[in-house]
Amino acid sequence: MFESKSGVFFVAGLAFFGFAFLSNALVPAMMYRDLPEKTVEELVNPNLRYQFEDLAQRYPESFKKVYGTPPEETGARSEWYDTKIAEALRLGRKVYVGEACWHCHSQFVRPVSNEDLRWGPVSTSGEYQNELQRPVMFGTRRVGPDLCREGGRRSNDWHAVHFFKPTDLSEGSPMPQYPWFFDGSPDKPNDRGLAIITYIQWLGSWLESYPYYEDFVKSPVAEISLEGDAAE
């Protein structure tokens, strides 16, 4: 068996590989089968909505060019925003992957090395059971900081300027410039610019402690929408 074709093929090739796949891949998949995968639409939350509407106000022209004008009527307007956020998140993830952001920024906080002091609560499984983590964006290298608690930590215009030319805001940053997210200047983000900022603002927006670092005023968006719906 140890030196024969069939031994090598079936035992080493198929059986050992199969055993490893079973124990290392199917076991976690089975363990999380009760934790259903959320769609992007289900990921939209009031914190993120607040940031997205902020984008609409800060960059009205760019926003209109990419997403059009929201309907006047409150209920439809709310739904319209949520749809556009989902669209932005999908494209944002594509940009995040395509530009290899994930090769210099991780997306998980470990329970060691004082990481919870630096970034916030340690990551849990539930946070990753969604469409935008397929494949998961854990990352394996941190040239820049972890990003999974980044949402709400900095303003949209900070991100816009930073993407355009990182050294303008953090002197000494080795991060490359991404002028192709903009139509010429940082106040004119294009579809990719708006999408990647939305994606970054989404990271950690689901947490109760959001945002972990700065003074935080609870997003009024959820209540406003509810009042609007009630009035109809």
């Binding site: 030196e3 998949a29 494949p135 000494g172």
Partner: protein, 465 residues
Amino acid sequence: MADENSKTDESTPATLPTHEELVDERLVAWYFLAALAYLFISMSGGFLMAFQLIKHNPLNGIEIFSPGRWRMVHTNAIAYGFLANAFLGMLHWVIPRLTLRPVLDRRLSLFIFCAWQFVVVATAVGLLLGQAQGLEWGETPVWIDPVAQLGLLLVAINFMAPIMKQKGPMYVTLWYFVAAFIWTFLTYAMGNFVPEYFVSGSSAGAVGGLFIHDLVGLFVTPLGWGMMYYFVPILLKKPIWSHGLSLVGFWGLAFFYPLQGIHHFLYTPIPMFLQYGAIMSTIAVELVVLTVVINFFGTLWGDGRQFWDNLPIRWFYTGMVYYFLTCLQCSLQVTLTFQALIHFTDWVVGHAHLVMFGVFSMWLLGVMTYLFPRLLKQEWYSQTLCEWHYWLSAGGMLVMASDLILGGLFQGWSWAALQPWDASVEISQPFWAVRVVSGLAIFGGQLAFVYNLYKTWQLSRVRLS
């Protein structure tokens, strides 16, 4: 071993086929040339990122030269462009000569060659256009994955044909090759399709970890060791020291290697007992590796002079020393104690370079150093340039790996001490600068090799005319 084979192997032809009937030398040369071309593309990508990190990237802000995209070209070109092509060239030499039978079909070989170049070029173009897949070492855009999968299947069929016709026990090299064909196919399928279409989150992380690890452990490693078991005895003109240790090495690797993927994601939300399992099987495989390395040094024993006099042997054994070092490093860094400090740092980047260049690329460059004179029927134009190639590659690699490993420690300590993030970037600068210099040394070595190859080819043309 060889005698035993000829007794049991009744299907061996009565008269031995000639080398020309067995080996398509032109194809071997083409594969090697393609591999070298991608080696240069990969190194260019590495430089772009390296210069970006020391803030001297002259192409900053140009979309098509984005260091992030080129960083993915860097790893993919080395895995699928350099290593895969060089291995395929080597397989077209080794398998027919070892089995005394040609591959299934020469036209199929030619088709695979073209198809594989298409896969690699399409991957590079896709990555540069920003279409990467979110899977480390598998960033190949999703639409190319099925084509690559088909290519791997055809490769397996083409090479398995001569192996299947052999009867009786196989030589060590073929254990590794047969296993590699099936593992590579399965690994590629698992990594590129499961976390993309079937599972998300932590489970996708577990599969992604398996993929990263299996690509090295079940595609590159078995092809590499199979190659060593073939070339080392031929060059030293004596059999492998211990057949028993060969058995331990292969079966130990086959059992423990596939179980380790999750060690790439320690301290993630992946269940802790799976992390412990991955750590233990990793430490187990390091012991197995030790037996393999002992076996090869046992083979060299008494012929130590060959290390200095025989250049391919020097390439091989330097790679093996690096292999031992990288595995020793691995058995330390895989522990949770080390992980807390060095995960996410340049320590890991140093480790990856030591494995992919210091071991497997060096072995393949050694094989090329040995085979090109045979393919061109012409001795090397300059032995001195061959020496330069070796010393710049081996020396540059040693400096790069030590530098990055050390730099990683400083980064880890800086983070744990809750220094401002910028401080960790600041202290990395000298290490990143040294990395560029060591990279330039390696680049210079490869330039010497390519120039030497060009002059040798010229000489071979002159002789023919």
